[in-house]
């Protein structure tokens, strides 16, 4: 685990050096089971930074969310680096950004945080109810110590950690300039059994499931916006010429939106699960992403976000690629 003082000191050092224009990390939220992501620009703000099991958000998302404002005539753009604190899963987003040339390696300073898992707000609420005060939580080897509404409790990891953590294969950042804290041991694995189970269902059953889920969608695009991989200048979903998806919300457009979103993450999704976490309608968005993740791994032996030198999956091919379904 990372010592928050070490983290803050490093942040102060980096911010004081003038080398970076902003640092992305987490700070305590105003209530509940989730921390707040934060972007700080000055060493004086570094004491707000935290890291514990409430730091569920992926800070890498905020690298690409930064707008590039027009530079007034006679001025130079601020090309200083961005510093970003990343957990293992978050770090894969940075790697994939590099693969896709979203920025170059020199543009980022990566503070790597070994992580034993973060908690799932929905699971926690089921156990402890609402938390009007910000919750403190520390993931340990044998469980999560959580302080809710003035009481400290320990629960098993399975009960409270996010699903992504329960199958985490990269507890330590895969890329880092400053590893903060000692590496933690990998304790989980991913057998995609959830996907395999769903695959067994008939087309009718699958569609019945998605029909209900997609009809809930309000098209707030939180899943798209939070995704570290969704950073097109103009998303085809909101494009008008041509209009791939209508803005109107109905089963047809919602379904197509979700297929488009999942498709655009084929071979790119780094499984931070932010899309599913942010969904206000509880749509199991990751079910689609994970299907593709599984297939990409099985069919093409490809895993995004682990090798910054890799070729993008769908911008490459192998003459021996599988030919199934092709007449």
């Amino acid at each position: 685990m990372v010592d928050e003082n070490v983290l803050r000191d490093k942040a102060k050092e980096i911010l004081s050096s003038g080398e970076v224009r902003r640092l992305i990390g987490w700070k305590r939220g105003t209530y509940g089971y989730e921390a707040a992501p934060c972007v700080i620009t000055d060493a004086s703000q570094a004491d707000d930074l935290i890291f514990d099991a409430t730091c569920v958000q992926n800070p890498a998302s905020f690298i690409t969310l930064e707008e590039k404002l027009p530079v007034p005539r006679g001025q130079q753009p601020d090309t200083r680096k961005i510093a970003v604190m990343v957990k293992g899963c978050d770090s894969r987003a940075v790697v994939q950004h590099l693969v896709e040339k979203a920025y170059i390696r020199d543009d980022v300073v990566i503070l790597g945080i070994p992580c034993r898992g973060v908690i799932d707000r929905r699971k926690a609420e089921k156990i402890f109810g609402e938390a009007p005060q910000p919750v403190l939580a520390v993931a340990e080897k044998d469980g999560v110590v959580i302080r809710v509404n003035g009481e400290e409790k320990k629960v098993s990891r399975e009960e409270i950690l996010a699903d992504k953590c329960l199958r985490c294969r990269y507890p330590n950042p895969v890329i880092s300039d400053y590893p903060l804290g000692d590496e933690v041991e990998k304790w989980a694995d991913d057998d995609f059994s959830d996907v395999s189970e769903f695959e067994k269902e008939s087309p009718e059953e699958k569609w019945a499931f998605w029909e209900e889920e997609f009809s809930k969608c309000i098209r707030c695009y939180a899943c798209r916006n939070v995704c570290p991989m969704c950073y097109c200048v103009e998303c085809i979903v909101t494009k008008l010429k041509p209009q791939w998806t209508r803005r109107s919300t109905d089963l047809s457009e919602n379904t197509v939106y979700h297929i488009q979103r999942a498709w655009h993450l084929a071979g790119r999704c780094i499984e931070c699960m932010e899309c599913q976490r942010v969904c206000p309608m509880d749509i199991p968005i990751m079910t689609l992403n994970r299907k593709l993740t599984k297939d990409v791994k099985e069919l093409f032996d490809y895993e995004p976000g682990v090798d910054a030198e890799a070729q993008p999956l769908l911008a490459s091919y192998n003459p021996q690629d599988p030919e199934e379904y092709i007449m």
């Binding site: 105003t30 707040a36 998302s61 929905r122 609402e130 809930k216 939180a222 798209r224 309608m281 509880d282």
Partner: protein
């Protein structure tokens, strides 16, 4: 007005009895609750904290057809709701109900919006008083409360075995008379229990914001840097606005299917970059900072300046659902401090 009670097991019968109306009520799907048209009374639930999507969607749907047309002709076929479509909306939380009084002002303003207004007129609103407010509820800071009645036609109180139904307006008579056997009469005792429930619920509301001075202060913070500490982590998604019972912005688009077309309007949000994007490519609100500022300022300054009322009812949805903890109470509090 009248006092009635409905045994909980009789709620389905009660809904069934309302066959002259289209009945809308909250329906649970997994952990999400949303108003739906009730064809099968057993699907309706009155056991929920609040709906994920506020009932504004019943008057102002996510997507609605304004009119239809043929591409090759100049005639249009308007799709204004007819007078015949009488509705009962069951289980509206008082905060969401209060939102209608706010949004009514906008849709009845310079151009009365027939689509919204017709649905409002055709609807009987039956509230459901809160017994267990959520931890981010702050309705009391905005003049509301767990049993606020404006503009409900009737209100239900969950009194354990049964619901106490208090009718408020003449409009509610129509539906009480059709409810028939499912309703039993109630009296002072139930009324007293209801008052107690409302009082106890009100005490449970912990979050507050003193709104005095905010409408005046916000414009002075137009260029203030304090917005960026929120906007920097804003995702620019539509959760806060789509789920807000008072947000009412819409986009209008033409949708064409071969040679048939419709003009439709759908929810839009000032949090999207496209919202203010000009055809020229210029965007007067180029970053999330301007958009975050606009959302808060519109609710707490521009709207009250124009319509005399803050466009927020304290339902807490934008706080609960914001994935990055942009907490409107926190923002307003900070705005007072800076």
């Amino acid at each position: 007005m009248g006092d009635y009670k409905i045994l909980k097991e009789k709620v389905p019968d009660f809904i069934k009895a309302l066959d002259k109306f289209e009945v809308f009520a909250p329906v649970k799907k997994g952990d999400t609750v949303r108003f739906e048209k009730i064809d099968d009374p057993s699907r309706a639930t009155l056991d929920f904290s609040n709906t994920n999507v506020p009932p504004k969607e019943l008057m102002f749907p996510e997507t609605e057809t304004l009119f239809r047309y043929r591409v090759v002709s100049t005639e249009i076929e308007p799709k204004v709701p007819s007078d015949e479509e009488k509705r009962v909306v069951l289980g509206i939380r008082p905060c969401d109900a209060m939102a209608f009084s706010i949004v009514d002002r906008l849709f009845g303003w310079d151009f009365p919006d027939p689509y919204y207004q017709k649905r409002r007129e055709n609807s009987i609103l039956v509230g459901l008083a809160c017994a267990e407010p959520c931890s981010n509820c702050f309705c009391t800071s905005l003049g509301g409360g767990p049993a606020n009645e404006e503009p409900l036609d009737a209100i239900l109180y969950d009194l354990g075995e049964f619901y106490y139904l208090k009718t408020i307006t003449d409009k509610s008579e129509a539906f009480v008379s059709s409810a028939g056997d499912a309703l039993e009469s109630a009296g002072d005792s139930e009324r007293a229990q209801a008052t107690e429930l409302a009082g106890s619920a009100e005490k449970k509301i912990k979050r507050t914001i003193k709104t005095e001075g905010i409408p005046e202060k916000l414009p002075s913070l137009y260029d203030h840097e304090f917005w960026t500490q929120y906007s920097n982590r804003c995702l620019g998604c539509g959760i806060c606005t789509f789920l807000c019972p008072t947000c009412h912005c819409f986009d209008i688009q033409d949708e064409i299917e071969a040679f048939d077309g419709r003009r439709a309007r759908m929810w839009d949000t000032c949090m999207f970059a496209e919202y203010t994007l000009h055809a020229s490519g210029h965007n007067p609100r180029p970053t999330r900072k301007e958009r975050t500022r606009n959302r808060i300022s519109h609710k707490y300054s521009y709207f009250p300046t124009k319509f005399g009322v803050i466009a927020c009812v304290g339902c807490g949805r934008c706080i609960n659902f914001c994935p990055v903890n942009i907490d409107i109470i926190d923002v307003l509090q900070k705005s007072k401090e800076v």
